[in-house]
């Protein structure tokens, strides 16, 4: 192999521009983080709501929430991206559609965030549902028996324990959000993968480019993992099996 290594490439100017390749990658990194974190916040809020709805004593609500989850879980993320970006504006009333296509600020960013947020919400919802259903049935009864309403029982009794239980599976969902955000490049969000591809074509130093990008993605996933580990430790309940194991 005759590859010409050049680790200095990151500090070189891009062709026909006045910024460095490093600038490109860092901008991309910024967009990746922005899309991922916004999508994650949205996914958590919606996912918890949907996960709860899948466990309530109402067939209509359970069916609606189940349909939502299955819809967003079973269509490939890339296809969803295209649907939101190209198809959705056509389905809106004409003047709204026009506004979305021509005037909406940062439309790639918002489209990508909403799409990734909805996709991830279906996965969060599944974990939350499983967590609630894994609780001993008596907890719900105990909450209701003291006069709490059903929403109060979820809020104060079921969710605090269920959510603690699902921190480990949610950790991998959080890490997945960063990885999945790379799909946003397909609709033109100038995130990390987009910038990497551009740098590779512009500089012809593909290996350095993708090694650097790999490192940046790794930093995202690793930080997500650490943040969740801290949350898990801070919220651990004294006297539970997990707590006893951690103490010893």
């Amino acid at each position: 192999m005759n590859y010409h290594w050049n680790w200095g490439i990151f500090l070189e100017q891009v062709k026909g521009g006045d910024e460095t390749y490093l600038n490109w990658l860092l901008t991309g990194f910024g967009w990746t983080v922005a899309v991922s974190l916004s999508a994650w916040v949205m996914a958590l809020a919606l996912g918890i709501l949907l996960g709860v709805l899948r466990t309530v004593p109402s067939r209509a609500l359970v069916a609606a929430a189940t349909a939502w989850v299955e819809l967003f879980r079973n269509i490939p993320l890339l296809v969803q991206m295209f649907l939101w970006f190209f198809v959705m504006p056509e389905l809106l009333p004409a003047d709204w559609g026009l506004w979305v296509k021509q005037e909406m600020p940062a439309k790639e960013f918002f489209t990508a965030t909403i799409c990734l947020g909805l996709f991830t919400s279906s996965r969060v919802a599944e974990q939350v549902r499983a967590g609630i259903q894994a609780l001993p049935g008596g907890q719900l009864m105990a909450g209701l028996a003291m006069g709490l309403t059903l929403p109060q029982t979820y809020r104060h009794v079921l969710l605090p324990t269920a959510l603690r239980m699902v921190v480990p599976p949610l950790t991998s969902e959080f890490m997945n959000v960063f990885k999945n955000s790379s799909v946003a490049f397909a609709i033109g969000v100038m995130e990390l993968t987009f910038q990497a591809k551009q740098m590779q074509e512009d500089s012809e130093q593909g290996i350095e480019t993708f090694l650097a990008v790999t490192l940046l993605y790794f930093i995202c996933a690793f930080s997500a993992n650490r943040v969740m580990a801290v949350i898990e430790r801070r919220t651990r309940i004294p006297g539970t099996a997990a707590d006893v194991a951690a103490q010893s």
Partner: protein, 250 residues
């Protein structure tokens, strides 16, 4: 006290319940007067838990009527949370809230349901914890207490709500033998103070000591509803006799 003697706290009239095709309760009628202590016993699967959960509407029933302190439980217009707030319930597996301290377990209902101030609720919690002998444990979490201690906390939690009556569903059957008495002692004391109690229990010593009446259930029916002396002394149904001889022999 201007209490009408013998007025009903809990009245069940011909209650029947089905799970699909399976009939869990058949035509159950009984009545618990104010200040009365009733022990419900019977073989496993006979419907004791289901019956007692009909009293505070945790289980719905398809036929009959349950009246608690003048309020019909099955009436769709009844504000169930409000009714339940004053009907204490103690479960076989304690069902304390594991993520809360003992104090928080005792104050949450007072604050969220009875709208008491935090200070007032904490004061009441401290008083009742002291009463069940667990003042020292207030800051701990349920997982750090023994089963007997947890069940005493559960009783204190119910008492914090100033209940007009108490329901117990096998409160000692998940406990190690050496912890049963500490819980029964609390229950005996409560009974002696005149609390209206409906207890699903196989602790016949407890029944002998404080029960006014004993109900025996089998296959979803109330087979026997007798005063304590009748139940333990004179003739009664064969099924109840057989059952009694089994549980009294060990």
């Amino acid at each position: 006290m201007n209490q009408v003697p013998n007025s009903a706290m809990i009245e069940m009239r011909n209650v029947s319940k089905w799970y699909g095709q399976f009939q869990v309760l058949t035509d159950c009628s009984t009545r618990v007067s104010k200040g009365e202590v009733i022990v419900v016993c019977g073989p496993s699967g006979s419907g004791k838990s289901t019956l007692i959960k009909c009293v505070n509407g945790l289980e719905v029933f398809q036929q009959g009527e349950v009246i608690v302190d003048g309020t019909s439980v099955g009436d769709p217009k009844t504000d169930l949370p409000r009714l339940r707030a004053h009907v204490g319930m103690v479960f076989q597996h304690f069902e304390l809230f594991p993520h809360m301290t003992i104090t928080d377990n005792l104050t949450i209902g007072q604050i969220k349901v009875l709208r008491r101030s935090k200070e007032e609720a904490q004061e009441k919690a401290a008083r009742l914890l002291d009463r069940v002998g667990l003042k020292q444990q207030a800051h701990k979490h349920p997982g750090q207490l023994s089963g007997g201690q947890q069940q005493r906390v559960a009783i204190a939690r119910a008492l914090c709500m100033d209940p007009i009556c108490m329901l117990f569903d096998e409160p000692t059957s998940a406990l190690d033998p050496e912890m049963i008495n500490e819980v029964l002692d609390v229950m005996v004391e409560l009974a002696k103070e005149g609390m209206t109690m409906m207890c699903v229990s196989h602790e016949m010593g407890f029944a002998r000591k404080v029960a006014h009446r004993v109900i025996f259930m089998d296959q979803g029916r109330i087979i026997e509803d007798a005063t304590r002396d009748e139940f333990f002394g004179t003739p009664r149904s064969e099924r109840a006799q057989l059952f009694l001889s089994k549980i009294l022999s060990h």
